[in-house]
Symmetry: C2
Subunit: 338 residues, 2 copies
């Protein structure tokens, strides 16, 4: 019979989690005290600022129960936090994980979650230093990720200036396409090899490129795409007090997304600029620094495309091939609104 | 009509929260970037280690919906984290708050929550620097609190040695007594002025004394009581590889708790050593340093009582007045076990 959390209890579960972290995770040099006390402690490095972000995902709201395995869910939850540290130009160091779990959940699924966390943290030499588990009818994962960046070098959302180029890594809308496929073809086992479905269930991040781009000193503003190309560009615009134009023909369209949009009868540009958590990076810079950032991207094998321009307006417009401008309404993607 | 989160949306709610934090919270010197970007950032002080803890509370599991107002709930959630930093001998600095909320929740309750957080943080010159809100059928609050401590001076659970005295601030079991009163007399409005009920709904912490005690250099191990006197002493014993004796007659009993236990037909010592989240501090030290710690406590007006002794055993025993020793079974307080 499947072993559940009820069977081994809270302290039994914590012991199992500690075993995985101790045996499969890394232990950075600066860590003075990890899991098992009232708080963890570490010694910050001189000349560095500490970055902190947190992000929570809730069952049914952020993921489909039964569709995504613990391991992928763990990767996805950690990836979204790593992406946030990368979007500041920083390096992840230490994670704390709070889990809300049903007592009847399988222990193996929770162990899978932690293996998913570690497979994302280990290559960055980052580790889990704390957290807690609690019983909750609605399961949730809340991660706090701590990172570091050279003092004064964090790239904010607020530095975009009119005339700046808007650059995008990779291609957006893939996660949204994957979600649409899962919703339209429930139970189709063939979907799990689909690249869009993989992009939705197990996204990657661009944190290493974010750090390298920030280190050039040319990036004026940066954000990762968890709300979508237009929605996240809007966050930059709001914090910088500017507007933006997106050149429709310049927006990179994934070939699989084009196919899926055709099959599903959806507008491929709607998917590419709309709500989608792809964890790509949007960055702005003076147009004369675009070649430098492209060269840096090329050296890392990261696709980087100039997709728009910052304006002195207040809104985001999509510029069609004929020059027509359409205002993009991204405010409709507010989750709590009914 | 009551304004709900559905009415103002996620971004509307975030704006309201930012307004409260900006206008009613403090802004420490080291904070370089607060709420509103992919991550917050701060500059750590030289010669300090960073402490991090997180704690989540879940509706129905940790608090009774409808019984506790947002303001008290916010105070309680923040207090439990402040207490953890204090139990390491540290000072709280920065908090991140993740909320899971029902869309039909009242905005005023959420604003009350934040005012509760701030009323606990402000006297410590600590502030909220990040977080997120998400929709969840089961409401939850997950707080990560970051603090600092002089390098090498954090007090762990693992330093207790056989022969050490066991000291306790205040009196334990009051929160458990308050909860029992609420459960036995549901709807009784007279309860809300009861000191035990207040101890349960709006507990205090001993973080300032924890810091002062750690600064003496005499404390060998320290923990705060969120599981209860025996349960948390057991955590010290487990991490230190020791056992402990609690002298029953030395355990401070709150007079209100004695009355309530009589009314409810409950064993007052069971309440005082059993599961109860009072956020008192348990600390151990060489017996010759007890007077120094008591003097420090007295200077802060904190009651500090010697309640037991660390042994070279592996279990926790309650020593009765006649000398009889009874083994305390605290493992029954594992929440997930059925």
């Amino acid at each position: 019979m499947l072993e559940t959390i009820h069977d081994i209890g809270e302290f039994g579960l914590i012991r199992r989690i500690r075993t995985i972290i101790d045996s499969e995770g890394v232990k950075p040099e600066g860590l003075s005290l990890g899991i098992g006390d009232d708080a963890a402690s570490f010694l910050p490095r001189a000349g560095r600022e500490i970055l902190v972000t947190c992000d929570s995902i809730v069952e049914a709201r952020h993921y489909l129960p039964g569709v995504i395995a613990g391991y992928d869910l763990g990767r996805r939850a950690m990836t979204s936090n790593i992406s946030d540290i990368g979007a500041m130009g920083g390096s992840p160091l230490y994670a704390l994980v709070s889990l809300g779990l049903k007592g009847e959940a399988a222990v193996s699924e929770v162990e899978g979650l932690y293996r998913g966390f570690l497979v994302e943290l280990n290559p960055l030499a980052a580790c889990i230093i704390g957290g807690n588990v609690t019983e909750s009818e609605t399961p949730f994962i809340d991660i706090t990720l701590i990172g570091e960046v050279a003092q004064g070098k964090a790239v904010r959302r607020s530095g975009a200036r009119p005339g700046d180029a808007v650059l995008l890594t990779g291609a957006t809308g893939r996660a949204a396409g994957g979600l649409q496929l899962l919703l339209h073809r429930p139970g189709d086992p063939g979907l799990f090899g689909n690249s869009l479905v993989r992009a939705y269930l197990a996204p990657s991040h661009r944190a290493l490129f974010g750090r390298a781009a920030a280190a050039t000193g040319y990036v004026t503003a940066m954000i990762d795409t968890s709300d979508g190309l237009a929605g996240d560009l809007a966050h930059i615009c709001e914090e910088s007090g500017v507007g933006a134009e997106l050149f429709r023909e310049a927006i990179p369209i994934d070939s699989g997304l084009r196919d899926a949009a055709g099959d599903l009868g959806l507008d491929v540009y709607g998917l590419a600029i709309g709500e989608s958590d792809d964890y790509e990076l949007i960055m702005t810079c003076d147009p004369r620094h675009v070649p430098d950032l492209k060269a840096e991207a090329e050296s890392q094998g990261v696709p980087l495309t100039e997709v728009g321009r910052i304006t002195d307006g207040r809104e985001i417009c999509l510029v069609l091939p004929g020059g027509e401008k359409r205002r993009v309404d991204y405010t409709s993607w507010d989750h709590f609104r009914r």
